[in-house]
Amino acid sequence: MGLLNFTRDPVPEAVSGDMHNLNQLSAQQFSSLTEVLFRFLTEPKEVERFLTQLSDFATMNKISLGPLKNIVKSILLVPNGALKRNLSSEQVRADFIALGLSEEKASYFAEQWKVNSPTLTRLALGQTLMINQLIDMEWKFGVTAGSSELEKVGSIFLQLKLVIKKGSQLENVYVELTLPQFYSFLHEMERVKTSLESFS
């Protein structure tokens, strides 16, 4: 096997056997299986649903679930590596062929990959590390009517509650701003937005 695009590590031995088994599936069966796989890849939280659909596929096509799961594990190696390395659909197709999948099935899978890759890319981007991510902001503003030092005040205050994700926990930070500070803050945030937009 020549150099693969989706990985630099040696591929597990079982993979060529699994590809051979895949080749035995009809085009229709391969298409259904591919659909199940991509539905899982685009919604990775739906593990239960994925396992149920695999089990249904196994029953309907008279395949044992155990070997089917191994085949699926082997197939998934390619899209996972492809996502990390921003591979094109041609590269995905070439890799499947190099692994032993028929040209027809490799082309079909690569086509599905092309269709789904914007969604998959967006998902992977969403998983990127963020430091102290700002999750939510609550605010209230009001007027200070009086204090122990000043009988009548009439000044406006603004209070912000920032909800921040520190590691896996949420932390609340409370801050008070005066009116001039608020306008200055708003102005700066608008500058940030302009800056972010120019890079998008």
């Binding site: 990390k84 921003n86 992977a124 963020m130 700002l134 204090s147 030092e149 009548k152 406006i156 890079f199």
Partner: protein, 198 residues
């Protein structure tokens, strides 16, 4: 907040022993700014300058503190209001001098009172930077802009005395979060304008 007491005006007349008008001015400012707990040491420092006993100094300093804080509390801006506070038999010139000094300082003192009032932790400074994320363990190549915002927050001044604790908090915002935040801030601005225009 200090309230004016009966003995205060008698104590104020001790100021007649002051060497100069500037000395009186200086003492007024120090007495206003000092928190009640620090009045004792302030009285000790004032003793030698005025050639008075420790007890007289304490009474004087306390009286000046109460008078200046009372005027600021009530928010007086006219000489008449301040002059009215003094009893009939109070020394005329001293009364006029004190009123003049207070009027000179009143707006600075109001600002000082407002700056030190209790509040939630205050924002004292804010800095930002925009980064472009180019790579991560989940994707080898990308170009995602992100914003890092650093807020410097000062704990309640009243709790920290003269050494306020300032902590720096750095937060990361994605473009989506920033847009939502700006929407919220815009709504605040609109509501503020509505209140201002009423």
């Amino acid at each position: 907040m200090a309230a004016l007491r009966d003995g205060d005006f008698a104590a104020l007349q001790i100021l007649l022993k002051a060497p100069s008008k500037d000395a009186v001015r200086q003492l007024c400012q120090e007495c206003f700014s000092s928190p009640p707990a620090a009045l004792g040491p302030l009285a000790q420092r004032a003793c030698p300058g005025l050639a008075i006993s420790a007890q007289e100094a304490e009474q004087l300093v306390s009286a000046l503190h109460n008078l200046t804080r009372h005027v600021v509390f009530r928010g007086f801006t006219r000489a008449e209001d301040i002059l009215c506070l003094f009893p009939e038999n109070f020394h005329q010139n001293l009364k006029n001098l004190l009123t003049k000094i207070i009027l000179e300082n009143i707006s600075a003192w109001r600002n000082e009172a407002q700056a030190s009032q209790i509040s939630l932790p205050r924002l004292v400074d804010m800095d930002w930077r925009v980064d472009i994320k180019t790579s991560s363990d989940s994707i080898a190549r990308m170009a995602v802009p992100t914003c890092l915002l650093q807020l410097k927050i000062q704990e309640d001044a009243a709790l920290c005395g003269n050494n306020p604790v300032v902590s720096a908090l750095t937060v990361e915002l994605s473009k989506e979060t920033l847009d939502t935040m700006l929407e919220g801030l815009g709504r605040i601005r609109d509501q503020l304008s509505a209140v201002a225009n009423k």
